[in-house]
Amino acid sequence: MVKKISIGVIGIQGAISEHVAIMQNTLKTTDTPGTVFIVKNLGDINKIDALILPGGETTTISKILYKLGLHTAIAKKIKENNLPVMGTCAGCVILASEIIDDIKDDVKLLHAIDMQVERNAFGRQKESFEKNINIEGVHHPYNAVFIRAPVIRKIWGKTKVLAKINKKIVMARQDNLLALSFHPELTNDLRIHNYFLDMI
């Protein structure tokens, strides 16, 4: 019998229902047996085979993750069980090892991917944009939605660049950890979620 995959979406704040819907749609269109559910409590971490860290406000999400003990539990499961994780926008920041920030506030990072991120790297909301980008391993082009987006400033170790806008890295992968600074969950394009599903 085929094992059912359990995919958790961190349900603190932000584009949660959008990730649940697009991931469910991805499972359905690929005939993959599995469930997608919202993770809000510590106990849920034991039930998941993969995790999505959605976009939202980094400061808010990271504070509550930490307070609930989820931060430590996720970091542990990544380290000890190679938990596959996809982080979009705020989720990308939280997966990083280092952060550059103009404004000092204590975002708690998971130190999961060997990369340094910069928050709001393109500017404020009026500088938010959509753009067709090329992604390694995904058929071109892909319309990426950047909202007050971070960029990956530096990578090291085993981390690989998957997409760039000129010199700015906007998508990277380290083993089964995936970080992107844009929002696939706001579109109807399943290719990024398909890519993540292949990693699980």
């Binding site: 932000g14 809000k40 976009g55 406000e57 009026k126």
Partner: protein, 333 residues
């Protein structure tokens, strides 16, 4: 910032505006009047701050014409927090909105808390790169604001009162009406769209006294026939989704964690807290408690825990004690 291929970038799309609002879901947006309060809000876990010169309770107490805040106040707040900064403009005052957009504010609240500037029209929000949030008391107001380009809707409630009753009224009015759409047929939907378009017709009748036909321009560049059709499109989308097609927050009178929780349980995507935080005895504590209440709105034991020993909440006002002409929710149409 380094130069990159600007030609292929698309700014200010509907996707970006609605997407920005979606990133606020499940969060608390707090009114702040200076950098220090903004820091407290951010540290407490707010998803954004609303930069103001005075909170609604003080606007209510002071009286007079309430306008867009001094850009210095807004800039000072933008300089100290990394979360988005929003600011309010008067209803219809597109020049205030242009000024705020140039300042780099992340979202504009076209708000009844300030004194309305245009007796006929709200702002044509499609003209802007940055997204707007607007208040509503019922589905008709919500649909008109969405058609005008609002990326986010909030209840009007009755700001500055610390009294939740009007926010609940407006949320129930919107949600109840959305449910009734389910049973409406095509012609009933068209009739409702026509009814919801009347506010533009009334304005143009007052201005020009002409006979209205489908080709009459009733608002900015929009003809009456197109307005009715597009309002019907919005209604059909709502009918299908059984919710507003944009993020929907609660606002106007939220003062406690339980107030926030009840609004979330009634279907709000998040809450605005105005005077409730910095007019209370212990702003830091109440700010954190409301953030937790929104994240755990369906867990009564969390609401009970965070409601303990919050100190003095803001003093509330009975809606009946406010003279009708001083009700902020009556502003806008």
């Amino acid at each position: 910032m380094e130069k990159f291929d600007i030609k292929k970038l698309r700014f200010g799309t509907i996707m970006l505006k609605k997407g920005f609002a979606k990133m606020q879901k499940g969060g608390v947006i707090m009114d702040v009047t200076n950098a220090e309060q903004a820091k407290i809000a951010e540290d407490s876990g707010a998803v954004a701050v609303m930069a103001l010169e005075r909170v609604p309770a003080d606007i209510r107490a002071t009286g007079g014409v309430a306008r867009m805040a001094d850009p210095t106040v807004i800039q000072n707040i933008m300089d100290v927090v990394s979360i988005p900064v929003m600011a309010k403009v008067r209803i219809g005052h597109f020049a205030e909105a242009q000024a705020l957009e140039s300042l780099g504010v992340d979202m504009i609240d076209e708000s009844e808390v300030l004194t309305p500037a245009d007796p006929f029209y709200h702002i044509d929000k499609h003209d802007f790169t940055i997204p707007f949030v607007c208040g509503c008391r019922n589905l008709g107001e919500a649909v008109r604001r969405i058609w005008e380009g609002a990326a986010m809707i909030r209840t009007k409630g009755e700001a500055g009162t610390g009294n939740i009753v009007e926010a609940i009224r407006h949320q129930r009015m919107v949600m109840g009406m959305i449910r009734t759409l389910k049973d409406m047929n095509k012609s009933e939907m068209e009739r409702l769209a026509e009814e919801y378009s009347q506010s533009y017709v009334n304005s143009i009748k007052t201005i020009t006294n002409v006979k209205i036909s489908n080709s009459t321009i009733v608002f900015e560049k929009y003809e009456y026939g197109a307005v009715k059709k597009e309002i019907c499109d919005v209604l059909n989308e709502i009918k299908g989704m059984q919710r507003l097609p944009v993020v929907n927050f609660a606002a106007g009178g939220i003062a406690t964690p339980a107030d926030a929780a009840i609004m979330m349980q009634l279907g709000s995507d998040g809450v605005f807290v105005g005077s409730g935080i910095f007019k209370s005895g212990n702003p830091k504590k109440i700010a954190k408690a409301i953030v937790e209440a929104v994240a755990h709105y369906d867990e009564p034991e969390v609401i009970a825990k965070v409601s303990k020993n919050l100190g003095e909440p803001m003093t509330g006002i009975e809606i009946e004690d406010i003279p009708k002409e001083q009700l902020l929710q009556e502003r806008g149409w």
